[in-house]
């Protein structure tokens, strides 16, 4: 047997070969039969076919097997080819370790940072909320633009019932209020605070929450009476932490500072509301027969009926509100509408939870890291170009010896893909670490924080981008004609200047400089904002001030008794060494508390208003002194307050609003309604920034903890924030003192939320400082990478122009002049990028506008500074190549170039 033919490698050949094999068999059998049994050819053929059996069936069986064989062989060949190419590519990469390492590191840096921000963006902004109906959930809110523009408030019970019953677009509405509760100690556990929510029964079906244990609320549960035992659901985490996951927890009672509760169920892990993760859920009190009230403080979430849009729901709700207004003119009076500009707002829940500021911040951050990535890619592309040039002769030799252009192209592609994959792997590790760091410094107000983490989508993004660039780099050799064999004919030392190559390099550097300018400009603007924000005088002095929440269990105390408690606490604390003053407030400044209450002044101002919904605080004597407020008049003393006079302090902004040029001292303010007692103003503070550092001249009224006895307008429950000025004492030591004093005077009290006031101030700047930090880091990296890029190109150009430089030196140019020449070339090249960059910056920095504080997006100083910085960097980056140029031996250079 002679081996002659190759095995079939196509589907068509399989069929042909099989036919040939089978017909060979049949013909041979025909001969056998004719010889042995003496039949005629026709008879023999028939007999042969009979003995063969079902020809078609056997043929088909064999054919299927053949196709299987063919497919397997194809797969093996492909795998072999891949393995071969990879090994060859790895070998050649290992021979150039510097190139490979720098390329991988640079790419990984840019890729990792981009993947991190992409993960943030994806999880917080792009992905739908983690509820089954996420796409159909809407937030129902009220807007009071004349009172406080730009903020939305909640809905009322009356609205809940009316909308739920009459809406044509909403299938159901969830209704809840978040808050805090105190769980009393029960001998086993210490007293602790827990996040609590009062939720309607509909909340669970709308958010797709089913119980892990026990049952959920029913509408019957909503009709509870005060003082009765409330059914409660606890969260999975709370169940684990407090009860160790004990399944017998159902039916157990919990003693709280308010109504007692009984556990009827446990919720599954991860069940939470969009804006809060409660430990304990109790039913909201929803009695349909209760008359509507003007109390719009509750969260309302609706679920759209299939086929209806958010806009349709908005129109529907607006219509229903009009009906409600007509039905209850005393609740929704015309005066009320005129004063507040009241209106309804329906938005998708995702939009409400995430908010436009966060969305914009994250997109900006993504743009910043994308810029850094592009700059890094520019450097890596440059590295590839250098390598391609260096390999020109080797490649030309290979081509001359018979290597196909296609095979070489595949080789380059394999190299760049391997580099890209390695960079991708490194980027994932780097990006994961970076994400943790970013989350640590991110403002706590970042929504959906719990959902952020590296997962397969991040990996897909990272490898996708890495592979895309890998392919792009692999195709670079084609652009610069690296496989052109004409190089061999050239007598030079192997580095042939290619016009296209030089243009590409210049272009890359200009691109890098442009991006770096934009990033630096943004960083500069943010830094300036931050500096100005830091310089803002908030109207008090946070240095050396410790703050902590002191929470009292509610047991029906009168305000007088509560006042006595705070007085005693402050007195004892002030008696300890190092304490200057101590006091308490209902809300710290700069904690962005948005609420307001109706306050009525004893005048009518020129705008015709004698009162409005104004921010108010409840404070104890000692608070203002501890916080370092300054004022005209005298801050109230404990004696004054405890006598029931009700001394009031207002900010200058408040005073100016109502009493305008008159002196507010001596005038009075009534809280909530004209029947309330009047609180006389005893002091007017300076210009205070109570809400946030950006908003000046807050208009706040500070009420005393003890009210005039004729009527008590509020209940001091829950607790206050205790404030101590003691610069020489550390915060933990201060907390210890307070705890030990509390153990003596009120053992049931809790201390929580401890923070130095300076931290509170820093947190209020968190958004600005976060953005600034991100942009600064990005700009710094961009600057570094651009410097490397400029260095690379200038080195290359010096190499190209050796002959020219040699001639100049031969004609008498000094070393210093050569250095100057190179540096000037570098600056000129960079200047082109700077010009484009400044133009782009002028167009794009306006996107930072909402984050800037008293800085114009086109601030000329910042732009000038950016330009100068880049030109200086260009000069510095050119020093190395310039000095090398100065050391050129003119004779040798000229000889080499001829």
């Amino acid at each position: 047997m002679k081996r002659v033919f190759r095995l079939p490698n196509s589907s068509a050949r399989i069929g042909a070969d099989l036919d040939e094999e089978l017909s060979f068999h049949l013909e041979g059998r025909v001969d056998d039969i004719m010889a042995r049994e003496g039949l005629s050819r026709e008879d023999a053929e028939r007999e042969a076919r009979r003995r063969f059996g079902n020809y078609e069936s056997y043929r088909r069986e064999a054919h299927d097997i053949d196709e299987m064989i063919l497919e397997r062989r194809r797969k093996m060949e492909l795998l072999d080819a891949i393995r071969r190419e990879s090994r060859s590519a790895l070998r050649s990469l290992r021979r150039a370790p510097t190139f490979s390492l720098i390329a991988i590191l640079t790419l990984a840096l840019g890729l990792g940072a981009t993947t991190t921000i992409f993960t943030l963006l994806d999880r917080v902004v792009l992905r739908p909320l983690p509820y089954p109906n996420a796409g159909r959930l809407v937030n129902l809110a009220t807007a009071w633009p004349k009172l406080k523009a730009g903020t939305e408030f909640g809905i009322s019970r009356g609205q809940y019932f009316y909308f739920k019953q009459h809406s044509t677009t909403l299938a159901d509405i969830a209704f809840y209020d978040g808050g805090m509760m105190i769980i009393n100690g029960d001998g086993v556990h210490a007293p602790e605070r827990a996040t609590q929510v009062f939720a309607s029964a509909s909340t669970f079906s709308i958010l797709g929450i089913t119980p892990a244990l026990g049952r959920l609320f029913t509408t019957a549960d909503e009709r509870w009476t005060p003082g009765s035992r409330l059914p409660a659901l606890i969260s999975y985490d709370y169940w684990q932490s407090r009860y160790g996951g004990d399944p017998s927890v159902l039916g157990r009672a919990i003693d709280t500072d308010d109504d007692p509760i009984e556990i009827i169920g446990v919720l599954p892990k991860g069940a939470s509301l969009p804006d809060v993760t409660p430990d304990v859920w109790v039913p909201n009190r929803l009695v349909p027969s209760d008359p509507p009230q003007n109390n719009h403080t509750h969260t309302g979430i609706g679920v759209l009926k299939p086929g209806f849009t958010v806009e349709a729901a908005q129109a529907d709700i607006k219509r229903l509100q009009e009906e409600l207004r007509e039905a209850y003119p005393n609740v929704y009076a015309k005066a009320f509408y005129d004063r507040t500009g009241f209106s309804m707002s329906v938005r998708s829940l995702a939009e409400h939870v995430v908010g436009t500021t966060i969305t914009r911040t994250l997109w900006l951050a993504f743009a910043a890291v994308a810029f850094v990535l592009l700059i890094a890619v520019g450097n890596v592309a440059n590295l590839f170009l250098v390598r391609i040039d260096a390999q020109r002769r080797e490649v030309a030799l290979r081509r001359a010896l018979g290597a196909e252009a296609g095979h070489l192209a595949i080789h380059y592609l394999a190299e760049s893909l391997i580099l890209a994959l390695a960079a991708g792997l490194l980027a994932i590790a780097f990006g994961d670490a970076l994400l943790r760091a970013v989350l640590a410094i991110a403002p706590q107000s970042l929504p959906r924080l719990a959902e952020v983490g590296f997962d397969w989508r991040s990996g897909l993004f990272c490898f996708g981008v890495a592979l895309a660039f890998g392919v792009a780099f692999g195709l670079l050799p084609l652009t610069s004609g690296a496989t052109d064999a004409g190089v061999l004919r050239d007598g030079s030392r192997g580095i042939t200047p290619s016009r296209a190559s030089e243009v590409v390099r210049r272009g890359l550097v200009i691109m890098q400089v442009t991006l770096a300018v934009v990033l630096l400009a943004g960083a500069g603007l943010m830094a300036k904002s931050f500096a100005q924000l830091k310089d803002v005088k908030p109207g008090f002095d946070p240095r050396g001030v410790h703050t902590m929440s002191v929470i009292l269990p509610y047991n029906g105390d009168t305000t007088a008794r509560t006042g006595a408690f705070w007085h005693e606490l402050a007195r004892r604390v002030e008696a300890t060494p190092g304490v200057v003053r101590a006091g308490a407030t209902s809300d710290l400044p700069l904690s962005n508390h948005d609420g307001c209450s109706g306050l009525i002044a004893d005048v009518v101002n020129s705008a015709g208003e004698s009162g409005n919904c104004m921010p108010m605080r409840i404070v104890t004597p000692g608070y203002f002194e501890a916080m370092g407020y300054t004022a005209r008049g005298a801050f109230p003393s404990w004696q004054q307050v405890e006598s029931g006079v009700g001394p009031l302090v207002v900010t200058r902004g408040f005073a100016n609003r109502f009493w305008e040029s008159a002196d507010a001292l001596g005038h009075g303010v009534k809280p909530y309604n004209p029947q309330a007692p009047s609180f006389p103003i005893v002091a007017v503070t300076g210009d205070v920034r109570e809400m946030n550092l950006q908003t000046p001249a807050s208009q706040v009224a500070y009420f005393p903890i003890v009210a005039p006895p004729s009527k008590m307008p509020w209940r001091i429950g829950g607790g206050l924030v205790f404030v101590v000025r003691a610069p020489s004492v550390s915060t933990p030591a201060m907390v210890e003192r307070v705890r030990s004093i509390l153990a003596e005077i009120e053992p049931k009290a809790l201390v929580a939320d401890v923070a130095p006031m300076e931290t509170v101030v820093a947190k209020s700047m968190a958004q600005t400082s976060f953005m600034m930090l991100m942009l600064l880091i990005a700009a710094a990296i961009a600057l570094l990478l651009s410097a490397v890029g400029i260095y690379g190109v200038i080195s290359y150009l010096v190499g190209q122009r050796r002959g020219e430089i040699g001639v100049r030196m031969a004609l008498g140019a000094q070393k210093s002049q050569v250095v100057g020449l190179v540096v000037r070339r570098s600056i000129a090249l960079t200047a082109a990028g700077v010009v484009v960059g400044v133009a782009v910056a002028l167009m794009t920095t306006r996107m930072l506008r909402s984050l800037l504080f008293e800085v114009r997006p086109t601030d000329p100083l910042v732009l000038l500074g950016t330009a100068v910085m880049l030109l200086v960097v260009a000069a510095l980056a050119a020093m190395g190549p310039a000095r090398r140029a100065a050391r050129i031996d003119p004779v040798e250079a000229m000889r080499a170039s001829t």
Partner: protein, 115 residues
């Protein structure tokens, strides 16, 4: 010579083919003829079944297939036993012998089973 027809048990065909090819590479027709000669025509195989069997054993790696040329200068597909094929043949032979000897034990037993 009496030609008795014995139907071939499935699976035994593979054994026969492997054994036949252990003498050397052959094409499918030659395999059939050899079996015919050796069994003096007493074994009836549906001849078409040979080819799926051969191709299957090639796919399993017991046989290698190559196109070649016969003595009469005709193009034919030759099959050759591989090392794996030899191992499999040895295993199958051992199994066959065990099987037949166990069956023989029962068939040639002298006593009736105890009640």
């Amino acid at each position: 010579m009496q030609r008795t027809e014995l139907d071939l048990v499935r699976g035994t065909l593979d054994l026969l083919i492997l054994k036949t090819l252990s003498w050397g590479p052959m094409h499918g027709l030659a395999v059939l003829r050899w079996i015919e000669d050796t069994t003096r025509d007493q074994l009836q195989i549906e001849e078409g079944a040979l080819y799926p069997a051969l191709h299957r054993m090639e796919e399993k790696g017991w046989l290698d297939a190559e196109w070649g040329v016969t003595d009469r200068n005709r193009r034919a597909k030759f099959y050759r036993l591989t090392a794996r094929g030899r191992k499999h043949l040895a295993a199958e032979l051992a199994r066959w012998n065990r099987y037949t000897s166990v069956v023989s034990l029962v068939i040639s037993a002298r006593g009736a089973p105890a009640r």
